[in-house]
């Protein structure tokens, strides 16, 4: 199996101008969506982001993900409007150790007030959701989903 995150997607995810959101569920199944601009690629199937606030809902939901293998969904929107949906599951929570401390120093030197967790997410699936791509797919695969007035002769 080839890389789940190819070089093009890696560049988009790592681009600070891309928008990055994570949707997660709490232990009761309630949904939560949050921007996580620190999201970046570690490996072809591994993403990472920094959770600054220990008590945040996202942090609790990531625990729910790693304990019970509850998936999280991520969407990346590039500066030129390319969109990718990534499904994954929390894989590791760095809360101590040299790796954590290295990130802690980087972030607090930038002015963040603390660091709770360096979360890593194992990627399960990637799908492109760019509007133009999905539009073309819809036209080809679901020709019935059109209003007739759009098909009238000029």
């Amino acid at each position: 199996m080839g890389a789940i995150i190819d070089e093009r997607l890696k560049q988009i995810i790592n681009d600070k101008n891309s928008l990055k959101v994570i949707a997660s569920q709490n232990v009761d199944g309630e949904l939560h969506v949050v921007y996580k601009q620190s999201l970046h690629v570690i490996d072809e199937d591994l993403l990472e982001f920094y959770e600054i606030i220990e008590s945040s809902q996202n942090n609790k939901n990531m625990v729910n993900s790693i304990w019970y293998e509850v998936p999280v969904a991520i969407n990346i929107l590039s500066e030129d409007r390319k969109s990718f949906e990534i499904k994954g599951v929390a894989h590791k929570a760095h809360v101590a150790g040299k790796y954590f401390e290295e990130k802690y120093v980087q972030l607090t030197d930038k002015g963040y007030y603390d660091l709770s967790t360096v979360w890593q997410i194992k990627v399960i699936e990637v799908n492109e959701k760019t509007f133009k791509v999905k539009e073309q797919e819809a036209l080809e695969q679901h020709p019935s989903y059109r209003h007739l007035d759009q098909l009238l002769k000029d």
């Binding site: 232990v27 609790k60 625990v63 729910n64 304990w67 929570a93 101590a96 040299k98 401390e101 967790t117």
Partner: protein, 344 residues
Amino acid sequence: MFRDGTSVLFHDTGEKRQHRAPYLVDNVDSKLVLTDQDEVIETVDFWERADYFDHQTSTGKNMQILIGNRPQRFDVTGSWYCHFWDTPGGGCKYCPIGAQGGEKKKKGEVLLTDPKEIVEVLAEGIKQRGRFANILITTGSILSGKQLLDDELNYHIELLKEIGKLFKTDRFPSQLIGTAYNREQLERLYNETGLMSYTADIEVLNETAFNRLCPGKAKFIGYQEWKKRLKIAAEIFGRGRVDTGLVTGTEIGNGIGFRTEDAAFAAVSEEAEELAEAGVSVAATIWQPSDIAILKNAKNPSLEYMIRISREFERLRLKYNLAVDFDDYRRCGNHPNTDLARLR
């Protein structure tokens, strides 16, 4: 440490008392894994050695001897000797630490560590940025003083004042596990130091079991008085900033406690709710009978009971809206009920 950041302390219970092969940390395919009877359960890591371990104090002592640690917490132990053990049979019957302290006393090693020496180590340790998030202070019970426990309290106040000089804030993330102080002593502890949270371990939530299990605590303070002092502590330190440690499982069987797990569950839950309503949470460790404790041949209850009671304690924490920030998975761990607080 597990992948989720949970840290687990393990105890060697000795070959004699193993009912089955123990969990084993092994090297499989160049990865550290936890195995159970040759089945790989999970990848694990050891938590890392702190940088201060390589340093010595100004008097030439190895710093690692003076202060231990968890992954994110300093463990400051003023003394390993508990004076409830001064009276024969006075120590808690499950306790291996007290038994070790007794050996130390015989060797003349009952000394309180100099607060200035402790602060010297803390100051060095905190230089490791991102390593430490909390300071735990504990000392074996010291019964002497103008009032009962005054000498213990005065040592903790002196130590906390010294530690407070390191910080720019009035209070700093810290936990004291002390004996149950009276109102006047608790007010002094809160008002004279920067301590953020307070713990006094009642050990078991049943008066009969407490009297049998902890005869020293029962004789000098008493079960009802211990609970009353915990509630007073919550008034002073605030709801959710006081808890009490339980050695979960000691309430059942072994000639100490309830005959059935159902009876224990009902009674312990009721007592835990009384404390939670007053702002006191519990930190319920899992009892692992130790070969060097008085109850060395005891049998602990079922895993199902441990899970059931841990979930009940978490339900009560949520019902009464109590935080356990100061005693959670990151600062302490090893009590499953507070691990559950990571979810809500």
